[in-house]
């Protein structure tokens, strides 16, 4: 139950991290990643009886933190992989961006709190129209019969399941740009001039087409395909100019992040 976690001190991984960085470590330049990581892990350990969803979120952040910490502890190494290094930077920046966003809404919530506290001091008048005037009121039951009542009752009693599909777990949208790039790298070399229409003909969902388009843009940006469109809304034509697909794939190093 995620609720139990929320009633404990922290309402999420960002909340915890914000707390550790901002409230616990007030000295700006003394902030130690090391101690933040340690304390984060302690907190994580403390919340052992939480549901998997929540724990996963916390773990994801913990993993990133540990990686950052490990990187700091390791001596400078000539053999380090630049791509990994950059990926780590990205993770960190993303984490930072999300912390900033989290903080933003935390502060925005304080305004709502003020509003609601003020509003709680007042009570609206709800008495309504005096009986004397009710004769003039339109008959709201006009045209409603007992069968309508019965079906309204059944409707009210029929549970409305909330949609189970939660897009949160469906990071396929971001992840599959990667897949789409790979697919294109397999399909395009040697295929000559192809139309975008053709390489998306078999796709059902619009989102798949969008993802393919994003992948195409990516390849274009990398100089691996040449793209032309003769006129607005006309066919997009593409041709592979990237040479050896193996090398191209290697150079692409698409990132995956499912947060």
């Amino acid at each position: 139950m995620s609720y139990t976690v929320e009633t404990e001190v922290f309402q999420g991984p960002f909340d915890l991290l914000l707390h550790l960085i901002l409230t616990e470590e007030l000295e700006l330049y003394d902030v130690s990643l090391s101690s933040i990581v340690d304390r984060y892990l302690v907190e994580l350990d403390r919340m052992q009886h939480t549901d998997l969803n929540v724990a996963t979120e916390f773990l994801l952040i913990a993993a990133t933190l540990v990686e950052l910490k490990a990187r700091r502890l390791l001596p400078d190494d000539d053999a380090f992989d630049l791509d990994d290094e950059l990926a780590l930077f990205e993770e960190r920046d993303l984490l930072l961006a999300r912390l900033v966003e989290c903080k933003t809404f935390k502060d925005a919530a304080s305004v709502l709190r003020q509003h609601s506290e003020v509003a709680r001091q007042t009570y609206p008048r709800v008495a309504g129209v005096e009986e004397a005037f009710m004769h003039a009121a339109p008959d709201m039951l006009e045209g409603i019969d007992t069968q309508d009542l019965k079906s309204a009752f059944i409707r009210a009693k029929t549970p409305r399941p909330e949609p189970v599909l939660d897009l949160y777990h469906l990071s396929a949208v971001t992840a599959s740009v990667d897949d789409a790039v790979r697919e294109l790298v397999e399909e395009l070399p040697g295929a000559g001039l192809v139309r975008f229409r053709d390489i998306t003909a078999s796709l059902v969902d619009r989102i798949e087409i969008v993802v393919r388009f994003l992948a195409l843009l990516e390849l274009f940006k990398q100089g691996l395909v040449d793209v032309t469109q003769a006129r607005a809304f006309g066919d997009i034509e593409l041709v592979w100019i990237g040479g050896n697909p193996e090398e191209a794939l290697h150079a692409l190093a698409i990132d995956r992040y499912d947060g």
Partner: protein, 231 residues
């Protein structure tokens, strides 16, 4: 009231009549009376209604009345004066809602500023599953389903309700301060940045190298744009 007037200039008596009509209508309404409806009923312009209501509100305040005339959710309503809360509290038992938790308020803030928004999007900002909080807020009528995401999955999109405005004493969501006002100031961002820094020197050194050596970085832009906070 006996005095009626046919004066068409803004004589005191003319507005006096209007005032009484506005008072009567607002008094018998269960909900805030929409200003346009109010104007229509008392046969005047929205501007005049606004003016009359502002005048009445000021009068009540000046006379130290135990009630107020306030503008909420696009309309006017009578409500008890906050100074009398202690007396009213003893009296009103039902309809008193319990305080919202911090989690609920933060979620409410996200919905208020980002509506329409899906649960998944709220969860992405909060970093935790928000199903329970969203259900509580829906249950209490603060947020409601406003649309469906046309994309795959047709996620339910939430927005704040009229009741939310009434409970917050807001006229409209746009009365909330600009979200930009809450973006943490540079010292805080710096503190956060500092907290996550893994090697200060490396940060600086690595930057230029990145451009010539590794064209890989820009690839990540795609992902960033999907995830970056649009504050």
């Amino acid at each position: 009231m006996t005095q009626h007037t046919t004066d068409n200039d803004n004589s005191a008596e003319f507005s006096h009549d209007l005032r009484a009509a506005v008072e009567a209508v607002v008094m018998v309404s269960e909900h805030p009376v929409d200003v346009r409806l109010l104007a229509q009923l008392v046969e005047t312009s929205v501007e005049t209604v606004e003016m009359v209501c502002a005048g009445l509100a000021a009068e009540y305040a000046q006379q130290g009345r135990g009630f107020q005339l306030v503008r909420v959710a696009g309309g006017y309503r009578f409500q008890s004066h906050p100074d009398q809360a202690a007396y009213v509290e003893r009296f009103v038992i039902e309809g008193q809602s319990s305080r919202l938790s911090a989690a609920a308020l933060e979620t409410l803030a996200i919905v208020a500023y980002k509506q329409p928004i899906s649960r998944a999007q709220i969860a992405a900002i909060r970093g935790v599953s928000v199903d329970a909080v969203v259900r509580t807020l829906t249950h209490r009528g603060y947020i409601e389903e406003v649309s469906r995401d046309p994309g795959p999955g047709q996620a339910v999109m939430y927005g704040t309700s009229r009741l939310f405005l009434e409970k917050m004493g807001l006229d409209s969501v746009s009365d909330l301060p600009d979200l930009g006002d809450f973006v943490p100031d540079p010292t805080i961002v710096e503190a956060l940045e500092q907290g996550l820094r893994f090697d200060a020197s490396e940060v600086i050194d690595a930057q230029p190298a990145q451009d010539e050596d590794a064209p890989a970085a820009p690839v990540i832009d795609l992902r960033d744009s999907a995830n970056s906070p649009s504050v």
